[in-house]
């Protein structure tokens, strides 16, 4: 299995806070990598660093053999890295279809071709009936699918998903999880931030655990669930009390 993304010693501080310090990990082609950690662990910052939204102080991000550290977000997208946002950012005053067309235009020159591709992806995320609804009229779960569809339309090799199941009700979660697994089947490599432990343990091939900006574990799910540092981070240490 070849390595798609390599992150080496990635660091970023905001004032005195080390949001990310010396994060190192890699992502294999075709796998689902889960990223876990308590609030403020630096998960979203890590995504922002990889996708160029935040400039790193130190370290490298390498996509295949290309160094993509600190280049512009739009170029990173064109190189095949898609992302969704934790705080959803739909184009609210445009329809679902128009939202996804914007993504499809990255690779497609022709508007009609882009439209058809967008429709296929909207169908893939099971929202085809809603294609002419404005983004602001969609539910949170549907907006998550919208963001996913929009990112997928750019033909990513690697998709970074920030809390797909966050903020949606229990009934919506299985569908979203199924969707992530469907992505994997379609050969898309996924890095996903998740708070729901059950889900992340089930779907991930490997898990990266962060706490206070540092990597505390990077392993297969079974070992992660027994890792004392991870348990400490989530439940607090016994002897600290």
């Amino acid at each position: 299995m070849s390595i798609l993304l390599k992150v080496e010693n990635l660091s970023r501080s905001f004032g005195g806070i080390h949001a990310n310090s010396d994060i190192t990990f890699d992502v294999n082609e075709g796998e689902i990598l889960g990223v876990i950690g308590p609030n403020g662990a630096g998960k979203s910052t890590l995504f922002d660093l990889i996708t160029g939204f935040t400039k790193s102080d130190k370290g490298k991000v390498i996509l295949r053999d290309k160094n993509i550290t600190n280049i512009r977000p739009d170029l990173i997208c064109r190189l095949g890295v898609g992302r969704t946002f934790q705080k959803l950012k739909p184009f609210a005053d445009q329809t679902l279809l128009e939202n996804v067309i914007v993504g499809a235009l990255v690779k497609e020159k022709n508007l009609k071709v882009a439209r058809d591709k967008a429709l296929e992806i909207i169908d893939f995320v099971d929202l085809i009936e809603k294609r002419h609804h404005y983004a602001k009229e969609l539910s949170t779960g549907q907006r998550k699918r919208l963001e996913l569809a929009r990112a997928l339309a750019t033909d990513p090799k690697l998709l970074l998903m920030d809390e797909v199941t966050g903020g949606v009700d229990q009934r919506t979660i299985p569908g979203l999880v199924e969707l992530v697994l469907k992505l994997k089947k379609n050969g898309i490599t996924v890095v996903t931030i998740e708070h729901n432990m059950k889900i992340i343990m089930d779907i991930s091939d490997r898990i990266l655990a962060l706490n206070q900006g540092k990597r505390i574990a990077f392993d297969i799910p079974k070992n992660i669930s027994q890792n004392s540092q991870v348990i400490d981070a989530y439940l607090g240490t016994v002897d600290a009390a």
Binding site: T51, F53, R72, P73, D74, C77, R78, G82, R83, F85, K89, P90, F91, A92, D93, Q94, T95, E98, I101, V102, G103, L105, V106, L111, K112, A114, R115, D116, L119, E120, I122, D123, D126, I128, E129, R131, H132, H133, Y134, E147, R150, A151, A153, T154
Partner: protein
Amino acid sequence: MNLISKELLQAKNEPLNYFNKNSLIIIGLVVLGLFLYPFISPSKFALHLLMMIFMHAVMSQSWNVLAGFSGQISLGHAIFFGIGAYASGYFYTKFQITPWVGIIIGIAISAFVALLIGIPMLRLKGHYFAIATLLIGISFQVIFQRWSEVGGSAGLYVPINRDSPWLSMQFHKSKVSYYYITLVFFIITFFLVWLLNRSKLGYRLKAIRDQSEAASSLGIHVSKYKVIAFIISAMIMAPMGSIYAQYVLIIDPNNTFSVDISILVLLISVMGGVGNIWGPIIGSSILIPISEFSRIYFGGTGRSIDLIIYGILIISICIFRPSGIVSLIPKSFREREKAK
């Protein structure tokens, strides 16, 4: 298995753009009516009023392309109006170059100026961009007030030419030719902006307007496209300055590079509906008659009456219809139809 693909197939067969037959017919009839209107020998004032409506609709559309499509609020759009006016006026006065070429020179200079000021300024976000454009607009006025080559604060008087009206773009006998010139510019501008709205560029600009971070995560170079929008906007504005100059034949910095124009084009769009291509037409059709009629009825004594009425209207719009008067038009007449 093919339950879903049926809906998909149907979706793919839908036309890329929806056209409402009724609205197309209405637009066609209105355009035809406007072309035939001079044949019923209307008054000079009626022609003047319509011309002003067309001109201001175009000027406001220029502002709308920047603000409504890419989300940048400009308070200095008179810059391009002034450049257009001075380009045609100066080259005609000094070198006898026909204003038709002057219009093109004005468009080119405006595009260049938009590029120069757009690159540094469009990095500013929101309010800061608005403040910067306001100040640059005023700076332009000051520069032209001091620039003796273009007449300083007295401005330029375009020499009268009665021999070749079309070449000199001066029509002293009637306003009909001016009327047709502005009408043609008006129709061309709206057609081009209508195309822009549904082009790839349009999709990208609206994405930037709604969510610039998401746009850049979708491969859109945000600052590049903002500059492109600014350039297009400037190119729409400039010819109106040139036509205005040929209409009044006096070009001075106070009337061309004026903050009033920058604010007026904004008010018209806000009134009609920002980000909607029909907004500027509606806004212009309401605000321009108000100012022309108040000028007639109150004359010199009531010079600001129109502004008071504007103020009341704009405040009411902001309170009751923040998305502009265009939102009063029933959905069925708007272009985009939502599937049931």
